[in-house]
Symmetry: C2
Subunit: 599 residues, 2 copies
């Protein structure tokens, strides 16, 4: 098989040609990350992913084992877990103060594409730990940070996020876990949490659970929610482990996929009392949660993308290997041929490639603007970059995970009957990918975030900053003759998009608000299409001047133009139709009587 997981040539293209990530080395924060170092890092990540993590994928599907309150991960995880930590990958992008490697974000994301593309179930343990550590780093007291951060970033201890309860899913404000103040300033928690990724496991010495709960007497809803740090084992003053803290795992879910990550139900304080310390202020838990959630949403997009990129590589390889008779579509050359010669297979590969390429550019770019924001001296520029990130977050979470599922489904179709058989790798990728559309805020919630919060945020300034970036790419492409028709088609779509955004925004602010919110998901899809087209046109812009320079690179660079052409000329007319449908904004979904749905 030519190359597994991610297409290295394309990873390099985005890092070095589209984003010029090594330019960050001019800044003192990143001096050591020149091109050579970055390439070494990506090499190492790719090796670890292919040689050690990828073999876990099939094994992971066998699932974790729940046994009397304990959870055993697949035996093969343990060695790789250790090697992943030894390579210091867990905190690759974090501050050296707590043991991080301080790498530029796009490089971390490239490494993560390899890791997650190899085995998302295994990587989710690390991802959860990292998210919890970041939360404590940003909102914890010095004491809390000193207690846990080094062990967490080193992966000796893991982390989770205790949010969902049986009757509080998307509706976080309904949660009923209670915290009672103790005289010593700690809190005693009791309640039940579900859907906790890595809530219990046997690869680490301790587990740190950031936990949402309501302090006795606090207001109802989200305004009365506080955040606590709850360890599995209590932590003594000298940092060593004390008593069991009464966080009991009562079971793990039997899921459609992602079997290799334990989704746990936990009971807090059932017996001996579960002690937690407050993170941040009382009743302000949601703010910290949302901060962390933004990162988690971006990482969920990466998870989806990673499945898509692996699925594409497999499907492409299969289409090149699988010999069948040519169909009537090319009678002049009717001998046996690989199915990549079939127009309908090529159509599917082009869809997959354009999404995967566009997703890669978008995700790495989003990392790049975070670094630029961090490095910038200009408050206006910082604000502008932050604004773009705000708009991109729901797109990365929802659009990418929706399309990733479609890409995996195309991979199954390209494999034909073999795609449905678990002996081949694509069925598992499809099953695993389905949850990304649900967790960390369903994609419906993301679409409400885009229209209800991001579009109007700062009087529209965030949204404008995003649109301005697209316009700037269009302007550049217009100056290159071979790209002008594509630039003009995208500009036309952008016009229709902004018109639609205004129609939708106006409706959302009127008494037609319910009706408008039946169109947020289609609008998010259109926004994602627009973003993909932007990324692909930008790629074409980078590739165009390089065509003809080196023969061995020609197919690659020409492929960038052809992919942009495919997406802009074949997908965007459908997007235009979707925008037209939003502008019609028929109220049928709201007008329907409940009884009219039948049943």
């Amino acid at each position: 098989m030519a190359q597994l997981i991610a297409d290295r040539r394309d990873v390099d293209f985005v890092l070095h040609e589209q984003l010029e990530v090594a330019e960050l080395a001019k800044n003192s924060a990143f001096t050591e990350f020149n091109r050579k170092t970055i390439d070494l890092i990506v090499n190492e990540a790719r090796n670890l992913a292919i040689k050690e993590i990828l073999p876990l994928q099939k094994i992971s599907d066998e699932g974790c084992v729940f046994d009397a309150g304990t959870v055993r991960v697949p035996e093969a995880y343990h060695k790789v877990y250790k090697n992943y930590l030894d390579g210091q990958w867990l905190a690759m992008g974090d501050t050296p103060e707590w043991g991080g490697q301080g790498m530029p974000k796009p490089v971390c994301l490239a490494a993560s594409e390899y890791f997650h593309g190899a085995c998302n179930s295994f990587m989710l343990f690390h991802m959860a730990t990292h998210g919890a550590a970041r939360l404590i780093e940003n909102f914890g007291t010095e004491e809390q940070k000193n207690q846990v951060l080094k062990n967490m970033y080193a992966g000796k201890w893991s982390g989770t996020m205790l949010l969902t309860e049986p009757d509080a899913g998307s509706d976080v404000g309904a949660l009923s876990t209670v915290a009672r103040r103790n005289p010593d300033g700690t809190y005693s928690l009791s309640g039940s949490k579900i859907f906790i990724s890595g809530g219990e496991q046997d690869m680490v010495e301790n587990i740190i659970h950031p936990t949402l709960a309501r302090i006795e007497g606090a207001p109802e809803g989200t305004r009365g929610i506080s955040l606590f740090m709850v360890p599995k084992y209590r932590i003594k003053a000298d940092g060593s482990l004390g008593e069991f803290n009464d966080v009991v795992c009562t079971g793990i879910e039997h899921k459609m996929g992602l079997h290799g990550n334990a989704t746990c139900s936990l009971t807090l304080g059932g017996k001996d009392g579960c002690i937690g310390t407050l993170i941040g202020e009382e009743n302000k838990g949601m703010a910290a949660m949302f901060h962390m959630m933004n990162e988690a949403r971006q990482m969920t997009g990466l998870q989806g993308f990673a499945n898509a990129t692996t699925a594409y590589m497999y499907a492409l390889d299969y289409a090149r290997q699988r010999i069948q008779t040519k169909h009537m579509t090319d009678p002049a050359d009717a001998g046996p041929a690989a199915i990549i010669r079939h127009p309908d297979v090529r159509r599917q590969l082009m869809i997959m490639k354009s999404f995967v390429d566009g997703m890669r550019s978008l995700i790495y770019y989003n990392g790049m603007i975070q670094n630029r924001c961090q490095l910038s001296d200009s408050p206006e520029e910082k604000e502008r970059l932050k604004n773009i990130e705000e708009v991109l977050t729901p797109i990365i979470k929802a659009y990418i995970t929706d399309k990733a599922f479609e890409v995996c489904s195309h991979a199954v179709q390209v494999y034909g009957g073999y795609g449905y058989v678990e002996e081949y790798p694509v069925a598992q990728l499809l099953r695993d990918a389905r949850v990304f559309q649900i967790y960390e805020g369903t994609n419906g919630i993301q679409s409400m975030d885009l229209v209800g919060r991001k579009m109007g945020m700062k009087k529209g300034a965030a949204f404008m900053a995003y649109l301005e970036e697209i316009r700037s790419t269009i302007e550049k492409a217009r100056n290159i003759e071979s790209l002008r028709p594509l630039a003009e088609n995208l500009e036309k779509l952008l016009g229709s998009y902004t018109e639609t955004a205004m129609v939708l925004g106006k409706a959302a602010a009127s008494d037609k608000v319910l009706n408008a919110f039946a169109f947020t998901h289609p609008f998010l899809e259109a926004t994602g299409d627009l973003t993909m087209a932007w990324m692909l046109l930008w790629r074409a812009l980078v590739a165009e001047p390089k065509i003809g320079l080196k023969k061995k690179d020609d197919a690659f660079y020409k492929g960038q133009i052809t992919t942009a052409r495919f997406f802009i000329n074949t997908q965007l007319p459908v997007t235009a139709g979707r925008l037209a449908s939003i502008r019609v904004m028929d109220g049928a979904a709201i007008d329907m009587e409940d009884a009219g749905f039948g049943g």
Copy 2:
């Protein structure tokens, strides 16, 4: 739970109000099937489905067991298998000559919706038997029919279809199973077949395998393929069972879903010699196969539809039961409410309902035209109806199974995190449904059939007959004031559709043929959308005069208008965009250099 599997009110609506199936009783072939009898049949089917077949669904997911050449189905199947046969459901639509019940097709399809919607894995055993029996009834010799048909239609013996081989999937012509002529007129077969649904099982005494093979010396490709009847146990002159016929099951597949139907690998004639008798003429196997395939494709559409209808019923019920806090979209009434109040949930339910309703009408209607064709005295009318069926077949197979998978995926999304957990029913429905897009000819193949064969068939007469039916519904709807805007919107879309069909047809007949065939699947999707809109408008036409007559039916009838409005005003603009994309017919997918795909 209000009502499981299929919505009975809607089943009755299609049977009696939209299609007026009891009118068939005026004809001597169907005299006994008046409304009362039909209702009794549907009652019985529904009872059997809910009480006996539905409990098999969860069990079926545990899978069949392969053990040294034998296959054990789940233990619970045996009793229900017997009850299904005792109810004489297997041959409900077939001729009494061979033990059939001679029911009208739409009634059979309504019963099948219940059965397949309850457990598709279990039903596929019957479906395979029925398809094989129909093949032998249509193409077998009198001797063959006498040997097997009564036992098959009674379900004492089962049937399969031995078509696919490891290197001959979509490319049937590449098959390498060989048949050698024996002096007694029989043939000795040897070869390997894969993906054989129900190829081995323990519910029946014998299994009849219609088998595609190439007679020694026959031409290559599809022109040299013959069809044979190959029993698992040889059949003696008196009809009793003889020796084992050397059809050896070597394993079953571990699949993404549909675990409760064994997908077998079979070796023919490895040891003792496997004897078959010719069905039809030598080298004419493909014609018989295609005849049978048409029925199999229609039934595959029914399988997908059945999963969609069940998934919709579950999601609707869940959306009505699941209480969460209302979102900001309705601040005036912000207390806890069922999630069916959320606009984005309603949007998904409307998508599901419009597809499920449209699919039901389409599938039953397709059954109705087959009965009408059979009863008609006019050769022109017979031809016309046959033409419509020809065009509808790839739509039913491909469009319905594509959209069924989407409907099941929406059901998972409506369930949120619970949707991903196998304890709830929708995850399995999604996994089970994925194969329908692949088997009986991938949906890519179906799209080639639509554009490459059906569109040009009989100088376009088949396609014209189909379009004429749509036009006739539009004309009727135009005369009803409240439906006129919908009729006009559909008419506009139809105009754009026929224009696109001409552009595509012209390209397919030119040197742009490869390019054209990269757009057959989008064209099939547009054709399906058009067909759904037609069905929904027809429903609205039937419902409209009944609004206000009986209070208890009002929500149902108004719901028909609202559903048509939703689909025509919200979905068709997207379809129009897809048609525009086809007319652009960008050649990127063909122009792409193979190396440009990367990897």
